[in-house]
């Protein structure tokens, strides 16, 4: 192994990869949420469909999409490697253990929360991304905006969130994501060694606010379409 692979195959190095990818994925969440806010425009989905078309065809976005996939892949791959390692580090568990006395629930269940999010991600892609990009799953309806034909992703959203099961899955997943981020956001800073008496308290508070607001923003969408549209 050379120094590079040695660095990133050590437990500390793998966590650094997870932290960097995690923060990158956080930035993706922000972009995604801002885009999704188009759904709330009262224009029959026009803005949203234009936005999704832009996201599907812009070169920079397509490039970033690859980076995003890699971000997910590395985040998940290192999580799996570390989880296996961590399980192996304690082959025999305690008969009686009270971890709630020394650590938060979310910090101890990042793997579980991550798995929920991964399952959600698959469902989510299946619902929207796959039909939009690959014309699979029956593809999407078409809609004309100013004489140009676009995919009507908006109607797919409206349709999907008529289904209470989907709504429940989305809302629960966003709660899981919130807990994942509440620990993960500030943990990423710790993992990168970014700790300082002056800034750490702010990062911690910001992390909590970020996690709740972003996930709330996403969770409102299915609820909005289920109850109000």
């Amino acid at each position: 192994m050379n120094w590079f692979t040695k660095t990133f195959s050590s437990t500390v190095g793998r966590k650094i990869v997870m932290a960097v990818t995690g923060l990158f994925l956080c930035s993706f969440l922000v972009v995604h949420l801002i885009g999704n806010l188009q759904l709330f425009r009262n224009d029959g989905g026009e803005a949203f469909n234009l936005y999704s078309d832009f996201m599907a065809h812009n070169g920079v976005i397509r490039f970033m999409e690859i980076i995003l996939v890699l971000g997910f892949v590395f985040h998940i791959y290192d999580a799996l490697v570390l989880t296996r390692l961590n399980k192996a580090a304690r082959p025999i568990g305690y008969v009686n253990s009270h971890p709630e006395e020394n650590s938060s629930w979310s910090s101890r269940n990042m793997g579980l929360l991550g798995t929920v999010i991964l399952v959600f991600l698959i469902i989510h892609l299946w619902n929207f991304f796959v039909p939009a990009r690959f014309e699979a799953n029956g593809g999407l309806e078409r809609v004309m905006i100013e004489d140009v034909e676009y995919h009507n992703l908006y109607s797919a959203v409206v349709l999907a969130f008529q289904n209470p099961i989907y709504v429940a899955i989305y809302v629960i997943s966003m709660i899981a994501l919130a807990y994942h981020l509440i620990h993960g956001f500030q943990s990423a800073f710790q993992t990168l060694g970014l700790d300082h008496k002056k800034y750490t308290p702010f990062i911690q508070k910001f992390g909590v606010a970020f996690s709740i607001l972003v996930c709330l923003g996403f969770a409102i969408i299915p609820l909005y379409f289920f109850f109000l549209v």
């Binding site: 437990t11 580090a89 304690r90 009686n96 009270h98 650590s103 990042m110 943990s187 710790q190 060694g193």
Partner: protein, 260 residues
Amino acid sequence: MAGSNPNAKPMDLTLKVWRQKDRNSAGQMVTYPVKGISPDMSFLEMMDVLNEDLLRKGEDPIAFDHDCREGICGMCSLYINGRPHGPERGTTTCQLHMRHFKDGDTITIEPWRAAAFPVHKDLVVDRSAFDRIQQAGGYVSVNTGGVPDANAIPIPKSIADKAFDAATCIGCGACVAACKNASAMLFVSAKVSQLAMLPQGQTERKTRVENMVAQMDIEGFGSCTNTGACAAECPVGISLENIDMLRREFIYAKATSESL
């Protein structure tokens, strides 16, 4: 109250203790009743009482590690009622007193659990992995003699105090025992940051963190996922800041050191 209160009520307790013959045997929890325990006893003195009872019956007493019994040697190591060193924060098992338990309580007592800390017998575990990590770089390479005058290296009091805080680690392993991943990061980081803060540690700063982290991984400890359980259970209050410092040192060393 010790000595001054002859009316302190003795307690009867039920202990569930991990018994394991040796490294290669399977173990199990065994239940022992103990009677007439004074609230003024230390936890280990309560264990002594049980062991004397077992001995008189011709049974094998329970093996557990202990030595100084004043909270500094780091030898005692019991996982009591689901927590390393028991329910009191900032307290080693030897300094835990029975007044923190109630008559009729059931107390579970288990060894530290980690692949890197195999059980020798009963509650005694092998912590030599800690020594090997220290051997990988937990020192300043100076031979005896030929060193400068002690006052030739002035060190700001604030830094000396911070380095001291990190240096107080007693190497008991409670951090590993508490961590859901059995990670040794708090232990390793305490030494890395103590020496990284001090001028004496600068020459070997990069190789130290690289080698100690590598050895930590070789020993089979888990990774740190920042749950904070280690610092919460540390009997001498080693801070999480040390772990963050280790990461900074690691990143800096990996990015700039000459070793390939």
